[in-house]
Symmetry: C2
Subunit: 307 residues, 2 copies
């Protein structure tokens, strides 16, 4: 019998312009999995968190991740998982990715790391597919690897870890509104105006150049989304006014986290991030919408074993 | 009376994935302008090159550039331009941009550089607008500034000079096929599939990351165009087979230069660039299509005064 505990961080996908191809890992906030391996062939998942999870094991993202790992490595065992989930499903800050990343990294650790980091991401993407009906890596890759990550392409998977210039702080708020990833994807048009697409890839270029060269101003002015935000911001009451107030604190940018409804802003100073966080809290207080909020650093650490 | 001579390089826009937002300057190949300033108020343009240019001065790209410079700086003079054009109009390697850049940089030099480099690009873009009906900077900016350039956005103009990692060599071939920039733009759809747009901005991110980190392999595999190439390659006989042969030489990528019909490949070694150039020559020889071809370095030098 072998047992480990794994922490996997929350993550934010898209980063404004990088729809489906960029994401970053957050510090501190995340899910903890305890995984026990013993002789046999089976899987149990026990939810010890206050966060509700599906009773049907086939609907839990951990299940396809563990199966994919076993399939890729040719192993067989009794796997018992205890989950302490801190990230609410549907929050938009990589809830399914954190559990999937923890399962993938944990299984790989239990077997002595037979898989490369990229293959671990591929395992974790099975959980994403169950949660949102698509093999996305923009949460799974930063959750596994930490830092800010670019998914250059999917065929084959090409993950580029980008430099994080100095300290970056995220103010994240999760207003308790129900928006499923599937729903948030389905409202997007199948075709987009070429002009908007050009604006988007100009911004992606600017964001990557800003990160690589440590040009914080360029990072901020590049984090704009002309593609998904015009549709998705309608899920978030007062989105435009909120952004105006958040940017007035000196924050570099404010965007929808992943497919929402969480919203995040980025700042290069902790005091600005705190102010931006307060502005966000007051916004949803005034609307009478309950929320959870955090001010955390962008973390270069991804999923890791803990004591 | 004051007189100067200016050299402006040819340039390649788009670089595969960076449609409308990226471009690079070539070494050696370019246009030379001699500009004479004297008392009065007027403009003459004399064409001393073998390259045909419109007789109507209102149709010459230099005219709106000079006017824009005078308007921006509040000056008035008799301007006499003698042009030695080396780049064929319609070649796709920044013919109009080179003349426009030379005029803008030359005027700015004659008046003691009252305009910033970015404002010089804005002047040069007037020539682009006359030539192709749009204010594009993806040839004009690299022609003025040299190197590899990202246009993050146009409102306001935000030009980012990217690092050129080591030596890059371009093999460029201009098959003598008539494709106007206007025509090449008009065949593009107004809307593009979201899936293809995502692929494109993943590649833009990869290309910028590759340039910034000196990852040549990443540069090569990012230089793919899912948006314009599927339409524009039909102008170039045997495009797909040509690319296969060019990539077999070890070249990093092969793409349409700007809106075509020129084609270019990129290599990190001169001998590979020469081989790729020979493959291109043989391809159009076999088709009986006349061409001009060059193997030149990517230049960090933009438009400059010459003796």
């Amino acid at each position: 019998m072998k047992r480990i505990r794994v922490f996997a961080p929350a993550s934010i996908a898209n980063l404004g312009c990088g729809f489906d191809i960029m994401g970053l890992a957050l510090d501190e906030v995340g899910d903890i999995l305890e995984i026990t391996l013993s002789e046999g062939d089976g899987l149990t998942i026990k939810n010890e968190s206050g966060v509700p999870l599906p009773d049907d094991i086939e609907q839990n993202v951990i299940t396809p991740v563990v199966r994919k790992f076993m399939e890729m490595t040719g192993n067989k065992a009794q796997v018992d998982v205890v989950i302490q989930k801190k990230i609410y499903p549907g929050s938009g800050i990589g809830s399914s990715s954190a559990s999937s990343a923890a399962a993938a990294v944990g299984m790989n650790a239990l077997y002595g790391e037979p898989l490369s980091e990229e293959d671990v991401v591929i395992c974790a993407m099975e959980g994403e597919n169950l949660a949102s009906g698509g093999y996305h890596a923009d949460n799974a890759a930063p959750a596994v690897m930490g830092g800010i990550v670019l998914i250059r392409g999917y065929e084959p998977l090409d993950i580029i870890k980008l430099p994080v210039p100095g300290d970056f702080y995220c103010s994240v708020i999760h207003p308790k509104l129900v928006v499923s990833t599937k729903e948030a994807r389905s409202i997007l048009p199948k075709k987009v105006p070429l002009h908007d697409a050009i604006t988007q890839w100009g911004n992606v270029g600017g964001l990557v150049a800003g990160l690589c060269s440590g040009n914080i101003g360029l990072v901020g002015r590049s984090m704009r989304d002309t593609i998904a935000e015009p549709y998705r911001k309608d899920f978030i009451p007062g989105f435009d006014e909120l952004r105006e107030k958040v940017l007035a604190t000196g924050a570099l940018a404010m965007n929808i986290a992943g497919s929402g409804p969480s919203v995040f802003s980025l700042a290069s100073r902790n005091d600005i991030a705190k102010k931006a966080g307060q502005v966000m809290n007051r916004h949803f207080d005034a609307l009478g919408i309950p929320y959870e909020s955090y001010v955390v650093k962008v973390s270069n650490k991804g999923t890791r074993l803990i004591a």
